[in-house]
């Protein structure tokens, strides 16, 4: 079986309220060295298939259609083999 690991991040030039808020909170917590914070999503999708090529094509479609909103977000993904449980 394959597992797709998908990273969705807010585009570099889009102001990210969550990242800014966390950065502010880190400063307040006493970490002034945290000078740039970006927050995104990390998704793990187990796929009932072993065909890497096919899987990659499908995950790409999933990302474009659903997992990321490409107006504001970028995405990338990796496929890893998992051992059958």
């Amino acid at each position: 079986m394959l597992k797709a690991i998908v990273y969705v991040t807010i585009k570099e030039n889009v102001l990210d309220p969550q990242g800014s808020a966390v950065q502010g909170a880190l400063h307040k917590l006493g970490f002034p060295e945290a000078n740039h914070v970006r927050i995104g999503k990390y998704m793990e999708i187990t796929l009932d298939t072993n065909n890497e090529q096919e899987a990659a094509a499908k995950v790409q479609v999933m990302c474009e259609k659903l997992l990321a909103n490409t107006v504001v977000e970028d995405y990338r993904f990796e496929l890893v083999q998992t051992v059958e449980a």
């Binding site: 102001l15 309220p17 659903l66 107006v71």
Partner: protein
Amino acid sequence: MRTAVLVFPGSNCDVDCYKAIEQTLGTPVEYVWHQETSLDGFDLILVPGGFSYGDYLRCGAIARFAPVMDAVKVAVERGAFVLGVCNGFQILLESGLLPGAMRKNTSLKFICQPQMLRVARNDLAFTAEYAVGEEINVPIAHGEGNYYCDEATLEELKANNQIVFTYAGTNPNGSVADIAGITNKQGNVVGMMPHPERAVSELLGSDGGKRMFTSVLNAWRERNGAVIG
């Protein structure tokens, strides 16, 4: 004028939209389930607020794939009036019927409060009974109403006069150019974060949203040359 109120799993303001039509217009109104594939015969389509699919992943991201959204696209093509409020606006953005995307409010908090809006244009079916520059009280209630679009899109929105409402006073959520609501180029699709359906009676604190409904009814009448509806 026949109105459809779409119902997605997790829609909450469907009831409020329905009541607003019933009470302010008294025209026929029906709930339409997200699995329906046709909106034929409906003149006004309300995409209500709420938390479709729990707003999980992104607001409106999952609802956009409901069969009824294909029907909405068809209806938009034929010129039906479409109003998306709050989550409905988010769904219209996600489905590409309106440009842009939503981010979390800058405060990262859900905000529910009375809100003053400035009407930017009154040549639309939805806003004809307001004056340009008029300030109206229409409440907001959202966690992700921080409208975003890139520079080019903003220029285009401005050039085409697609901004319908802006926040008066302090911008509550950080939206680009204080945008509270926009329309498509044709002017028959409006998306807005504030809730006009919650502002149709002084008993509830404001009737600032009422004229959006009476306006669209008039527009429909004019379009159809009808006397009653």
